[in-house]
Symmetry: C2
Subunit: 338 residues, 2 copies
Amino acid sequence: MNPYTVSRPVCIIGLGLIGGSLLRDLTAREHAVFGYNHSTSGARRAAKQGFDVTNDLPGVLARAEKKGALIVLAVPFEAVASVLDAIVEHAPTCGITDVVSVKTQVYDLVKERGLESRYVGGHPMAGTSQSGWDNSQRGLFAGAAWAVTYDYALEVEKLPQSWIDLFADVVRLAAMAKAEAMPVRVAPHDEAVARVSHLPHVIAESLAVVGDHGGILSQSLAAGSFKDATRVAGTRPELVQQMCETNSAAVVKALDEFLNYVTAARDALASDNPTIADLAEAGYAARTRLEARTGARKESVSPVKISSRPVLRLSPGSHGWVSQLRQAESMGGRIEVF
Amino acid sequence: MNPYTVSRPVCIIGLGLIGGSLLRDLTAREHAVFGYNHSTSGARRAAKQGFDVTNDLPGVLARAEKKGALIVLAVPFEAVASVLDAIVEHAPTCGITDVVSVKTQVYDLVKERGLESRYVGGHPMAGTSQSGWDNSQRGLFAGAAWAVTYDYALEVEKLPQSWIDLFADVVRLAAMAKAEAMPVRVAPHDEAVARVSHLPHVIAESLAVVGDHGGILSQSLAAGSFKDATRVAGTRPELVQQMCETNSAAVVKALDEFLNYVTAARDALASDNPTIADLAEAGYAARTRLEARTGARKESVSPVKISSRPVLRLSPGSHGWVSQLRQAESMGGRIEVF
């Protein structure tokens, strides 16, 4: 078996920015891949462009079942439950992964249906503020982190071989999209993305509103710092709602921490001796650490992009491999399977 | 007289990122320009590269006086007072402008010394998170807004011709750097930059710290939204302090407005029915307005960059020209002088 490619066909449910881009990547690599789009017109446009796409959900799932395909849920969170129900009915043995930006709530829906032995969660940390099939593109995931969850491996005494094979295939799916598979349990995942993805969205929205209140003069004076800081406020509101509302507990925790720092800075600036020294130094140190971590990649003279994430190579199912996943998670590392 | 070039030599005091880049631009255009740098080694490096640079402040000011040069203050705020004192002593008749990021406090120092008839404030809205002569570069100001203050024109009955000429030359200075001169009074300027420049710095610092607290897993999962949102946290802490602390009243006002929105979002997310709909919609609308405003420039197929800022052409000193400045300010417009 080719250790670099997914061992089965791939069936993608939902062809928006993420699902559509994945379909393009796998098609370009000539991997067996077919998909479903809810919108008739979207499905027709994709089919006209030569992609193997339908808008018949029961049909596409029956085909996935027949081919033993890996099903990728790439629908908005609010559609996950109904698609899982359809999978129970039409594709009763297929392995399942997803690309939804929160993992705890998806895993809850999976467990409610007793599907956990057939499920490995995923979340590619890539995107643009644009959405939909028409904005999907090849190479969207190149170099991005692709979280792969493995809670099930800690929940059962003896892992079924089918789950181990599924896990390996999800890691390979990320690799085929040129992303970097990072093992992470659902709760730490949701806490981390609350900090580094959902919180930045809430901040960008708030800053955009305050800048807008400054009127046309403020907007006209706005330079790179404002434009960069508000870029993700261009994300469709319903997508922001989905991310933040399905991960509200972790987002509130991150917001409270953030509010603490901003409020302290506000009070220090409002004092008789206005100062922002503490925050300016702490923020500079934090940003410098981030740059140092990713610096190796940027400064490399190699024509091949070198990842700054440490890599662990492991053989799923071998002795101690789940401990290796824990280790990789604790160091923010990526994995490769063999 | 050439309406596109400054009518006198230019003397730049301080050759960091801003002053150094301006020196490079004017030198490249073969305009008579010379400069002073506080650091001996910096001045020596610039001189070795063929620039007309010294580290003798009294000497350079005496030369400016002899040549009738326009003096550009490009030093950190904390050095402005002492350089103004040196100007009083060594260059008693030269016109003065500056590139400091706050305008009210600089104008106060100017007025304390009775220099207001010789002063027109400036602030180019350009920069990088890098600083110093070695990071200065040609073209840094291309397309950027360059605020030009005109409070003095509203403060006196009859404007001296020398001030009118100085104002015109500061507008031309911005144009020679390919920037867009925007007339604005010092107080509205400071309020606007508190919103669109200083507030984003405070936010970026706070977000960088919260992201850093998430540890290596969060950092490794961080994608574009986090990196863009924390970019300006890489600014040297003393520069952030200078900006925010010299404009603290306006920054606190902007922070209070921002905190209001973030706190409301936090409370709505912490409720029994977590929602972020209101903020997500308001933020999206605000960002979309910003994009619409600057969109014309981006989508242009012309090889010449077309500014999205409305332009007013005016003749300084002519009937009603100060009203035209007010009008340009109220619509965030740029001006050209003839």
